[in-house]
Symmetry: C2
Subunit: 259 residues, 2 copies
């Protein structure tokens, strides 16, 4: 069975039993989300950080302290993502397949929108998605653009990049703009240096992707941004997903379509 045709529950079972693989292209039509779980004491600052940086951090769902499922995610947040990243004192200390023993009673999980959600719509509109063609993870970059801070939380905007043929740039902007809750239209088009990206071939997260002749790089705000803030702000404890290895939610892409 093609991974595109799996149900969220089927995909989560594969991840729970060990598959560590980026989720671009999985469960077509189902919404994917970034995970960031922080101690209860930081939940207000994080929610306000998300509110102040809505294009990067659209909050799709929030769990109760210590819970490992939410209204829109019926799986187990500790095991059902294909990969996790553990943070201590502002450093990424481990990449893990599950985080059962790390999931503290005071952790509050936030599920943040992901641009994978509109890739099906891009394809349907005739816009090629290069990392789907190559079967790799989307490339992501830490930019020089600062986020609005919230209390102790600050950090740079992270973006994902998709190379789009020049004549389809307006289509890609229009189509993704119809999904404002999952990053919406690009935050930047063209010159990577203008937002502090030195080399497209060396992403900070994910895999490099081929930029073909005539392609223009399009940059979308990325839900890894809270993890960059955890790093930049020296947060003592947090759990995120491994970038590109998303939570597959029990809600459909079309629920976030605004026309």
């Amino acid at each position: 069975m093609d991974v595109a045709d799996l149900s969220p529950a089927q995909a989560r079972e594969r991840f729970r039993t060990g598959a560590r693989i980026p989720t671009a292209g999985w469960c077509q039509g189902w919404t994917q989300a970034n995970l960031i779980a922080v101690p209860k004491r930081l939940r207000y600052e994080l929610l306000l950080f998300a509110h102040r940086n809505p294009q990067a951090c659209p909050v799709l769902d929030v769990g109760e302290p210590g819970s490992w499922s939410t209204e829109l995610f019926a799986g187990d947040l500790r095991t059902d993502l294909p990969g996790y990243r553990l943070y201590r004192d502002g450093r990424a200390v481990a990449d893990l397949d599950e985080v059962v023993s790390e999931w503290r009673d005071d952790l509050v999980p936030f599920l943040i929108g992901c641009s994978f959600t509109f890739e099906r719509a891009l394809l349907a509109a005739g816009v090629p998605v290069r990392h789907l063609e190559s079967g790799t993870n989307v490339p992501m970059y830490v930019t020089s653009v600062p986020c609005q801070s919230s209390g102790s939380l600050s950090g740079p905007l992270v973006v994902s990049m998709r190379p789009v043929p020049g004549e389809l740039v307006h289509t890609a902007i229009r189509v993704s703009g119809h999904y404002p809750m999952v990053h919406g239209a690009p935050v930047h088009v063209g010159d990577p240096a203008a937002i502090g990206i030195g080399d497209l071939a060396r992403p900070d997260y994910g895999d490099p992707v081929e930029v073909r002749a005539g392609d223009v790089p399009l940059f979308w705000a990325c839900g890894v941004t809270p993890q960059a803030a955890v790093l930049a702000s020296g947060v003592d404890f947090a759990i995120g997903h491994l970038p590109g290895h998303m939570a597959i939610m029990d809600v459909r892409d079309d629920d976030y379509l605004v026309t």
Copy 2:
């Protein structure tokens, strides 16, 4: 000088020196906001309540604990609104001209979008605004529609109502829909009983307004909703504005226009 032509600072000075008057039509072109200030311990629940009920509770700005100004409101939140309502233990205990002695060190002020913001656009599109014609406050109603709860906070949706000539209903929907951050398009059109409103002539807040032959009542989500939640949830202490007596902000209506 017509109140429509006052600057925010000029209007705030009038309110600071005692004028208690609804602000519909004041400072045309400048954004107006609802105030709800709660103890720090409730700020996460309130921010999440707002996030879960975005059409009623669009958060325009949040202050630090104990502060009485914010980035987008350069005045003094304790004195520069034309009227305040004080809540204790889930009851409205006083309407006041200023709240200097009530403003505790741990109070966190939230400024919530207000539908007055798009009234200028309605007028410009040829849609009459009846309460501006009569020089009265907009009528507001507590509905039977429950909000999404957040921790200890729950309560009913509050709406404002504007009667609109039948042939202009689609225009009013379209124009207000361009302002999603200040309640956007109506939540209901037509029959008041469908959302639990018994008698349009007896609003829960504000003044009744004439519904002329051929008018259709349009109902917009209202930023008084957090105050209804304070009442319904038995919150021990909170300060709100007197409904219709808004904070006039240092930001322009057009900053919330989405086209």
